[in-house]
């Protein structure tokens, strides 16, 4: 269990005026969704929360410690990031890639133990990659690679998930499978913070929503209070029709 806290956080986007400061605590069990149009700074916010980019002002705290005070290794033992873009310049198998999630827990001379291998295998099973273990990542499809990235984070057993578009490239079945997986992680005490493009996934799977407007304005709160059609229409500059299926709002452009 760990608590990630943003305190008067203003992300640094070069050439852009400072946006509204963000102060919030992301608690164990919560599932946050970040919504916003392209270029609103969702990924930048996620990277700043992960300590991968310095903020323009304010700070990010992990269990009360400022991220800049922590070593990357300590941070990685609690917090995993699923990136939107990935580079694989050298050939590596799926199993090797997933196993790398154990890196923060191993000392320099230590080899991966049987337990590490088991965690990697479980993560591959959880993302239906069990049969692809020996395949080279470079030969996989976009959606399969996305699942490899999520399996790597799962192997890291993080208390905090920062996921940038975790459903990118995934087919419908795997979108739901990944959302269910993150839901279970939250039920087991993890905090989940993810950028999403799909309003309907956000409406169904998130309990907190953060809306990032392109002008730097932001607002956040429990999901049911944030899913106001007028606010969402202004967010995306797009007319929306709202339906309702089994008590969950469904948004369709139009």
């Amino acid at each position: 269990m760990a608590i990630l806290e943003a305190s008067n956080l203003v992300v640094d986007i070069p050439g852009r005026a400072a946006g509204q400061p963000f102060s919030a605590r992301i608690l164990p069990g919560q599932r946050w969704g970040v919504l916003g149009p392209n270029g609103a700074g969702k990924s930048t916010l996620l990277h700043t929360l992960a300590g991968l980019r310095p903020p323009r002002s304010g700070q990010v705290l992990l269990d009360g410690d400022c991220l800049t005070q922590l070593r990357r290794r300590q941070l990685a033992q609690k917090l995993a990031v699923v990136f939107q873009e990935r580079q694989d310049s050298f050939p590596a198998t799926v199993r090797e890639t997933v196993l790398i999630g154990r890196h923060p827990f191993l000392s320099p001379w230590q080899r991966e133990t049987a337990r590490d291998l088991r965690l990697a295998n479980q993560a591959m099973e959880a993302l239906s990659l069990g049969l692809l273990g020996d395949r080279l990542v470079s030969t996989l499809s976009g959606g399969e690679r996305q699942r490899v990235a999520i399996a790597t984070a799962l192997t890291q057993q993080p208390a905090i998930w920062l996921a940038d578009e975790p459903t990118n490239h995934l087919d419908l079945h795997h979108q739901v499978a990944v959302m269910e997986l993150l839901h279970r992680q939250a039920e087991e005490g993890a905090a989940v913070f993810m950028c999403l493009h799909d309003l309907n996934l956000a409406a169904r799977w998130c309990d907190h929503l953060l809306l990032l407007y392109p002008d730097g304005e932001l607002c956040f709160g429990p999901a049911e209070t944030m899913l106001v059609p007028a606010a969402l229409e202004r967010l995306y500059d797009q007319k929306l029709s709202v339906g309702n299926i089994n008590g969950v709002p469904v948004f369709v452009p139009g």
Binding site: R71, R72, R73, Q77, D88, F90, P91, A92, H103, T113
Partner: protein
């Protein structure tokens, strides 16, 4: 988990290394059998053999082995750092800088120590130049770094041609041989070994971090790697390795590029295996190449760089063609 395959591969490469050294010591203008060699090692038998082994062939073979190891390790490290299998000390212009330093002092007629010293200075200057310019105001992108290195290498190439055209005719052969890489000037292998062994020991525990770094700096940072310090350490080590290799044997090309790449095609890309394997395979390759260079057209001696290129290019192309 040390796989059985990894141990097997390392043992094979170690055996290859020992074989290459045996070959280098026994083959030449005067060939000797293994029993004659063991007599010479024991201090018995023909004193000529003892002299031949301990004063001439063994130092040169050890220098060749260490140089090959240095170059292959430097190449392997740079390739991971730049996430580009094309990176090696030669492509990045580091050995070009070393060559300019060495040639300048040869042109001025300075002694061997000065030639070594200025080769070293040239290599370090080149490293600083490449990494300083590539960093610029933004962050290092691997492509930008590689491009800067290629351009600087081309610049050093022009300076080398300029110096060669200025130099008196009687100095030209020595300089040319040095440019192509030649171990016949390598008198003492100790500096090379003194650098190679500690650097290998330092890099071994970094292996897994380097595996993570190969997946990009952001991903590496997210997995707990302190990227900047690690990158600077590896740059520093790789330039030290290159500078010592160039100081020992001149500009031997291809070893740093080909050896790690061939090993990756066969063994995969776990740096914990690739780094020691590169040292052994690079050492064995250069030792065998130098033995060929001494003997193929004896009593003429060829520059070893010619042999590494002639051996390396077809092998490399074949492996690349066969690879997945």
């Amino acid at each position: 988990m040390i796989s059985r395959r990894a141990i097997y591969s390392l043992l094979m490469l170690a055996a290859l290394g020992v074989l290459s050294l045996l070959l280098a010591v026994t083959v030449g203008s005067v060939s000797m059998s293994l029993s004659e060699l063991s007599m010479a090692v024991a201090g018995r038998g023909d004193p000529l053999f003892g002299e031949l082994v301990f004063s001439l062939r063994l130092p040169r073979a050890l220098a060749a082995f260490a140089t090959g190891g240095l170059l292959a390790l430097a190449g392997a490290l740079m390739q991971v750092l730049l996430r580009n299998p094309l990176a090696d000390p030669y492509v990045l212009g580091i050995s070009g800088g070393a060559a300019v330093g060495a040639l300048a002092s040869m042109l001025l007629g300075l002694g061997t120590a000065m030639v070594s010293g200025s080769a070293f200075a040239g290599a370090l200057l080149s490293t600083l130049l490449v990494f300083g310019l590539a960093q610029g105001r933004g962050s290092w992108t691997p492509t930008r770094l590689l491009l800067t290195g290629v351009v600087i290498a081309a610049g050093w190439g022009a300076v080398i041609t300029f110096m060669l055209s200025l130099s008196p005719a009687d100095r030209l052969p020595g300089m040319l041989y040095w440019l192509m890489g030649d171990l016949s000037y390598a008198r003492s292998p100790w500096l090379a070994w003194l650098v190679l062994i500690p650097v290998l020991v330092v890099t071994l525990p970094l292996g897994r971090s380097l595996n993570v770094l190969a997946r990009g700096p952001l991903q590496a940072a997210a997995l707990g790697v302190a990227v900047k310090p690690l990158a600077w350490l590896v740059y520093g080590l790789a330039s030290l390795l290159t500078a010592v290799a160039v100081t020992t044997a001149g500009s031997v090309g291809f070893v740093g590029l080909i050896v790690p790449h061939m090993l990756r095609l066969v063994l995969g890309n776990d740096q914990r295996l690739i780094l020691p394997a590169s040292v052994m395979a690079g050492g064995a390759l250069l030792t065998i190449a130098d033995t060929l260079a001494r003997t193929m057209m004896a009593p003429e001696q060829l520059p070893v760089g010619v042999i590494t290129a002639l051996l390396g290019v077809p092998t490399f192309l074949f492996l690349l063609y066969r690879s997945r």
